[in-house]
Symmetry: C2
Subunit: 696 residues, 2 copies
Amino acid sequence: MSKAGGDEVAGGSSSEKAQQPEDETPSGKVPSKLSATTTGPGWTKVSCPCCVSEQVEPLVLVKLGEKVRPETKRWLIKLIGAPQKDGGAALLAHPGEDASGDIIAVSAPRCTLLRATEELGLCKPYRNGDMEAFSYNDRDNFKDSDKMEVFLTLAERQYIVKYELDGLRAQRDLRIPGLSDSYTLQHRDNIWQKLGSARVIVDTLPLHNPEQLKNLSEAWYCGNQLAQPLDSVNGYFGSSVAFYFSFLDFYTWSLLLPAILGLSIAYFSGEVQKEMVDSVSASGVTHVEHDSAVSGHMILAVFSMLWSTVFMELWKRRSSSLSYRWGTLNLAERFAEPRPGFHGELGVNPVTGRVEPLFPEWQRDLRMALVSVPVVGLFLGLVVLGMLCFYWGEAQVQQLHKDWDSLLSQTLLYMPSVLHIVYTNMLATVYKTVAQSLTEYENHREESAYEKHLTTKVLVFTFFNYFAVLFHIAFFKQDVPLLRKRLASLLIVTQLVNQVTEVVIPFLVDRFISSPQRAESEDDPQEDKFRNQSNLPAFPGLFAEYIELLVQFGYLSLFSCVYPLTAVLLLINNLTEIRSDAYKICKLFRKPFFPPVANMGVWQTAFEVLSFVSVVSNCWLLLLSPRLQELCQENGMSSTNILLLAVLVEHVLILVKLILAVLIPDEPDWIRKKREHIEYTSMQALKQQKIQSEES
Amino acid sequence: MSKAGGDEVAGGSSSEKAQQPEDETPSGKVPSKLSATTTGPGWTKVSCPCCVSEQVEPLVLVKLGEKVRPETKRWLIKLIGAPQKDGGAALLAHPGEDASGDIIAVSAPRCTLLRATEELGLCKPYRNGDMEAFSYNDRDNFKDSDKMEVFLTLAERQYIVKYELDGLRAQRDLRIPGLSDSYTLQHRDNIWQKLGSARVIVDTLPLHNPEQLKNLSEAWYCGNQLAQPLDSVNGYFGSSVAFYFSFLDFYTWSLLLPAILGLSIAYFSGEVQKEMVDSVSASGVTHVEHDSAVSGHMILAVFSMLWSTVFMELWKRRSSSLSYRWGTLNLAERFAEPRPGFHGELGVNPVTGRVEPLFPEWQRDLRMALVSVPVVGLFLGLVVLGMLCFYWGEAQVQQLHKDWDSLLSQTLLYMPSVLHIVYTNMLATVYKTVAQSLTEYENHREESAYEKHLTTKVLVFTFFNYFAVLFHIAFFKQDVPLLRKRLASLLIVTQLVNQVTEVVIPFLVDRFISSPQRAESEDDPQEDKFRNQSNLPAFPGLFAEYIELLVQFGYLSLFSCVYPLTAVLLLINNLTEIRSDAYKICKLFRKPFFPPVANMGVWQTAFEVLSFVSVVSNCWLLLLSPRLQELCQENGMSSTNILLLAVLVEHVLILVKLILAVLIPDEPDWIRKKREHIEYTSMQALKQQKIQSEES
């Protein structure tokens, strides 16, 4: 997987014989052509002359089950290579070194790539330099549309291969050669899913491009560079990953301001020393407030509210610029084929007029209301149960410490917190599996809808899980010192745990257990290198990463005013997080498939919701600030009046936040104009088309 | 304006000679053609054979200034009749009985109507029954596209004439015949505006169709029918008016539930008697709360919150169905010509690629921030000033009553309220003019943006103006009986004042002052009938109507829990309001021009905002309810805790409201599918078009 691999790939595939031009065959001739071309040692042949190229780049590896018989493999290769009108995927397949081996390398010819680019609604640079929705018929006016390696990014090419494979459907009832009759395909069955359940296909994974990967990792995490190579990340891993890293980047830089403010407040108020004393002596429950510290508390509370609003608004603008730049402004997922897991009765889609499975909206709503919601509720109940146990434990330990007062009992003081955090993390893991099954059961048509509902489920739970205790301390116990202690321990423990589980363990496993087994030399056959990639663990997705950020953001915007060092700790954490996440995705896991996306999706909403909740939380914490209460009592205000004032301030601030959110446009002016231009031209085109179809 | 008029119009115009077919002239020949056809007594001739029809229906009346010279009129008629490529409006003009008279009747030929229908983005029934965005090239596939009277509604045809006239721009520098040199037209000047400022054109008004009007009024307000003929209203007055009446209708029926609830609460709690005593003896400040009355107060508060949410969500769904039905789902205003009042430097519009005036966004923002906002603030200050004076007066009068205690002083008790209401209404009138100039100065490109900003300005002010006192009483004085008294007097006085100023006075003026002067007989020339219409006062727009509804809705959703009869009073008011508004728009004013719209625009937002504020207000009024306070004190809760509880309840309710708003889709499922279908076909078409333009 090191230096020399890059040339190998190109060399390997070019040595496996370039494509020969072949005349376009009318559909009648196709069967004979297929049977003639798929048994040779090279790539399957392309069906149109424009797609013939000197080199074929292996994009995706299909790993077959061990017991798969050669005739099944031959049938599969034929299927992958067959034109779409014959029910194939119109891709290029390569059987590997050995026709009976357990891998198939898949690539895509130019025409298939271009047609899928149109189908996905990707935008590409037009000849006048603007990004325009790609149109196959107009392909010659798009820049570089003859050089697939430049025109489409590696991630896009690989996703297209997956998209085509996932979209394979049986055109008629069909027996799969070499398989028992129980796996006979019915009309419109999803072939890839069926083969997966028959264990013919064990895995489908995109292949790394060693040279590109090397360049990327050098620009990304090897040096001391400050900026991330986001465009290259988008090119190599796709826009989902690129959006995550862009957000992480933007967020980390935005932390600078609160970090500096927090640091200076902590420094000038002697907070630093106090915290140190606190954490060593664990005497957090005693009141050691200084006047100046509390005034820092107030500054931070107000600052947090403003910061989180401005941060989110600016991110939205940045996000839409990125989406324009990466050509995902105009994705057409609603109009594409449904996701493979989607099932329903065959019918005519009222939007596109195509025949495809339909699933009534009300039935989905019913499933959500009667199954998903109660199950999610149950888990939220478990969170509350955990919290109750934590309080019980806390009380017990305090009592113990009072009775014994030894070093042991002092250490025990932290036990309930630690146990609770562990319980919380475990529960989260179980819940994630449950949420996946629930969302699968809800049967969403689009990949993005599936992702959205899954994420929302996990998110609600996570929010509850991580923040229930903090809210309880802040709002019911109204105990600022305890909140501070808890926040500090959460920040430090969670971050340590995360860094260890996410990076250190996989790194050690990779270095000392897996790697020696698959040490590779330059002479290894190409096939073994592919196989090595498939032995890496699968990338666990961006859930965990986003949730980590969301929880961080929650700590910061909701409660940071009681612990000024929050932003500093987060900044340090994130600077390492960027590198460790980058290292992880490049080296420790298989290359993941990610669909092109236009924004962070539901995560953006989640961050926005948090930034609204932060107003409530900060107003409340302001109210709890002893300094403010003193001030008010000096001025002769009753506690009811202080409370009324706080409620008033809160409502005004929420109003200000809403007005700010409305006033700052979500997309820069120039993007809006581009988008309207696209809408305008497509409207114009509709009118043109009608007459054309009329005349013809 | 009565029975026989209908036939007259058709007869009158058909007797004025039908159009003769004429070969299409290449642009070189046009001048000679125009000079030959415009001096005769009939309509100007159409330029394409398909537009020739037996009858020409006069749609719009252009009223000229008294001093306009015949050559100017001839030039204007020529301009109206000239094809668009020669800078004309491609309409049909008729000089009236007398070539030197002061009116021009304007109609539109088929081609102009159809092209404008496409330009405006109106949807019309396609041959398969679906509504589709109209396309001129595909006109034959739309139902009834050869019968303009069926295909387009009267309102649409008239709006199109206005749209074409307003869009007239000088193609080169041009002296207008018969006018001084100071009125020379510059290249790209808006001709209609220039002629207006030169007093050549005094007025442009759509003409009534007496027969249709008679049918409409019979179906609308003459009988005892419960349902309004909304489709006919849309056809005759356009979708702006139709949306107002649909909303009024929907709102009035929705009032039934709160009215029944309010009535039963008032009845069972003896509230009715109490209120009567209250209003007669003006002893509202004394506490006469019954236990049962207060519990009604609580029921109503909770009910108001839920009702206002559900009401708004259901209305949004109804609104989108109506917009589909009326073909305004897909309006293309952003892509059309800018509104006539818009000015700026000539440039290429980046969206449509057309040359038109451009005005930078930031300059508009600057004008809003530096001029509009301060002026609006000033007026809000005047409202506060008025409120302070009101309180001062109130205190004085109370003192007086205490000193004298006579019938006179008792009457005087109501004086401050009445004076304040009058002041408030006067201020509102002045403000409306100011708001118009401000919005004109902001220089919005689209008519709808202009309307939106104007409405928002008026709305903020109105809200402040009407509700400042009520909020002050509820939140600062915390005086429920005063609030109740105030609300009752506002409801009764405002409604009486509105009904009188809106209907009774215009009716009396119309019947006894204007009408006798313009009594008409069947033998009157057509021209005089037109002239009579132009003597009616102009329709003042829907502002006042919507604001009345908004204020009503505010009383109801914000404060009705303290006065259960609110909904009943409003229901009675609205049942008469529907008829009086209908009568007013049909009989008392000129027929107004209204652009097609897809919804109520900014008004919908305003109602939604109010329904959120209602949560805050109702929670607060719940808190003030003495019964609740007793209850809590019995259970040993401190006032701080009650307040905390109320704040918690408020936040939860706002959350519930938000979730409800997200969960109930804003458009019914079938509309969403239709809309997506339109988007899909237009996306497909874009791809088709590119290749077409490539090939040609």
